[in-house]
Subunit: 202 residues, 2 copies
DNA sequence: GTCTATAGTCAGATAGAC
DNA sequence: GTCTATCTGACTATAGAC
């Protein structure tokens, strides 16, 4: 695709246009669900007409896949950075938990779509691949802790991952960014519960 | 509504017919999601024609509400029984965790609908009321443990409830009843992690 | 009670003007 | 690139025969 120079009208074009559509799609899919959201809803949100979206995307499914793959790629990078300079003990795991919770509140719409419309997206290769990359970072970090003797060895690492990630992802359903509990407090609390729960006995 | 005597044909009638429709609806809603599921899908599953469903239900929304309310009522009763004869320490909480996980695998379809189609059902009074009843049983049980000194007092009971319930409900997404890990093993593992995570320091 | 038939609506996607 | 206009199909719900 050839990029287009930005016009002086202030109306976005080219790559910026596509990004606007992706932002609009994320918002509409999160609010209404993939099935109920219509391409007309997305077009309205992006101040276009529905037919125009098909210049950028082949189908409604292609839109949701691109929305989610872009998000998952950012999370893969963020997790990689988080564990890169982790110290010993349970430090790496604590960084992952903090990163997961921050990524959750910073990308509410994407996480909501992934959870609610898992039926539709679970078969998309681009999405499954990146979920596996993320799982690998967590499993490696947990296994290091087990090998070092700081994490209990009587429970399978994958079961720990699933339990911890389940607790974290559920936060999206009740957390209110303008509520009394800050995300930093949530990080402190969930880290306390979950890391204590898998810590090796002293 | 007047009940109908069972006919000798073996074809269910009256109340049994309605229950067949509810079972069919639960299956279809869980598989396709509320929005994508059609009343024709449900009718097919129940061996009827779509128009006939409207003798029993006013709308598609009424079907999903009745499906979920019936399930939540069963869970409210089950939790009540679980804590009724709990001993001290963390025994009550452990019973709730076990009951939640058993209820999850025994009602996969209902739990799936509640999670995936939360958008549609979150406003239905019959559903919200029962969710609050369930939350109350959990909060009371946790608070008793805090008061007795067996559960840590530095974390809000509701935050503990949300973290624990999140970890439990996520199990629906990966648990396979015919897989290598039994539900009893999942109960053992999650109880170990979550109860150790909120236990008061010795 | 269950059927046939259909009203009324709205969806995703496309063709071609500009 | 974005528009207008529209095709084709599927949906929920209803009316009335049986």
């Amino acid at each position: 695709m050839s990029t287009t120079r930005r016009r002086s009208t202030g109306s976005p074009t080219g790559v910026a246009r596509k990004e606007l559509i992706l932002r609009s799609a994320a918002k509409v899919f999160a609010e209404k669900g993939f099935s109920s959201a219509t391409v007309r809803d997305i077009a309205d949100e992006a101040d276009m007409l529905s037919g125009s979206l098909y210049y950028y995307f082949d189908s409604k499914e292609a839109m949701v896949e691109e929305v989610l793959v872009e998000y998952l790629d950012r999370m893969v990078r963020a997790y990689g950075i988080a564990v890169a300079d982790a110290k010993g003990s349970t430090d790496g795991l604590e960084r992952l938990i903090a990163q997961a919770l921050r990524g959750l509140v910073d990308n509410r719409e994407h996480v909501t779509i992934l959870q609610n419309d898992w039926h539709y997206v679970r078969l998309m290769k681009g999405i499954v691949d990146r979920q596996h990359q993320i799982e690998k970072v967590w499993l490696d970090t947990i296994q290091k802790g087990i090998d070092a003797g700081v994490i209990r060895s009587d429970i399978d690492a994958r079961m720990m991952y699933r339990t911890i990630m389940g607790a974290i992802q559920a936060v999206i359903r009740w957390f209110n960014p303008r509520g009394r509990v800050s995300i930093d407090q949530v990080i402190t609390i969930q880290t306390a519960i979950l890391v204590d729960g898998i810590r090796a006995a002293a």
